[in-house]
Subunit: 231 residues, 2 copies
Amino acid sequence: MRLVIARCSVDYEGRLDAHLPLATRLLLVKADGSVLVHADGGSYKPLNWMSPPCTLAVEPATGPHAEAGAVEVWTVKASKTEDRLVVAVHEVLHDSTHELGTDPGLVKDGVEAQLQKLLAEQVELLGEGHQLVRREYPTAIGPVDLLVRSPRGGTVAVEVKRRAEIDGVEQLTRYLQLLNRDPLLSPVEGVLAAQEIRPQARVLATDRGIRCLVLDYDALRGVDDVESRLF
Amino acid sequence: MRLVIARCSVDYEGRLDAHLPLATRLLLVKADGSVLVHADGGSYKPLNWMSPPCTLAVEPATGPHAEAGAVEVWTVKASKTEDRLVVAVHEVLHDSTHELGTDPGLVKDGVEAQLQKLLAEQVELLGEGHQLVRREYPTAIGPVDLLVRSPRGGTVAVEVKRRAEIDGVEQLTRYLQLLNRDPLLSPVEGVLAAQEIRPQARVLATDRGIRCLVLDYDALRGVDDVESRLF
DNA sequence: CACTCAATTTCGATC
DNA sequence: GATCGAAGTTGAGTG
């Protein structure tokens, strides 16, 4: 990654034409050849940029560019389209290059994981008197998202999905069959909890005596927020 | 603008939760306090960021962060929401600050200017035998977008708009009144050319004997591309 | 692989 | 100022 602070003007020709007048900006050249032109404000979006794949060519300024006072001209060309980014560098105030290596990448806690966590904190949504046994309750055929003790003495197995479809019902059914063999847990009810439950999944679940619970992500979060403010 | 290359891990809590494992990245702190975390690849979008308005607090690492090997902890808080970006800095490989000043900002050649340019190159779209006199033909009440010589001996004044509304018709009407006083140009016809012509504008234009021409931007560009390939 | 759809969307124009 | 829609959109998930 190369970082250049330079007085420069920038022209982009491609899906639209755009021009940046002479000013001091950050030119960020990434390892893949992509270039970002950032100002000292605004959002995360650069003033101008070229996405990879592209190639960067740096040449001494000539002709009109040189007459305008430019020292170098950077030409960034997209590999597959006619998009061109031309940076006329007038003065370089900083120039450094750094080895960063490949980034392990962003880990987003998926919505499903969030839902599971939030529902675990609010098991009373399953009905009064319910108590969480544990999240990711291990079984021979895989972990059950939530295992909950019912006030009636039995157990509730909850399958959490962002969007519940038929395979979610099948999965939960398998867990229920297995868990119901355990006299310490039996009888085990099933709950299919999701932001969105597809009609087919709802029909199949209902047919098998599995309860459907539609989760309101924002409401779940809202309660969560209130709780976290209290402590 | 502050540029820091650092080995760091990043956590974002807000509208979603996200985590970046320890790796070497660019931390970009803008004058408005916003922070961008960039890797050495990918698109123009940062791995993580905090949009202004927000505040950045830098403190020595303590507790779990310190145990994990962090030296500093940056906490970026959004001003209005509960969004938080926490950067655990383990090792600083580069740190520099630069004065950039406010950016004059991006100048986009609007679609209107593009349309005018493209139509100027393809005046035959107005009808066979038409010849461009000039773009931005100056008059006492402002420039006419396109002035064109008609094969019938008269002149055509063209008003180009991205989206033509009533005021565009009024504007063109004023030009026509003025231009028609010039015996060298008279008779002067009017053409309202736009990507989209609002029904009211079309009615008014037709009523005043002004021709409406719907422009296909892509088609105009397409022809332009073909031409530029030929030469 | 194409298509759909959300985005910590951002951004500008219009009502 | 709120709302609507496009973006040089990008990016992920699904059929």
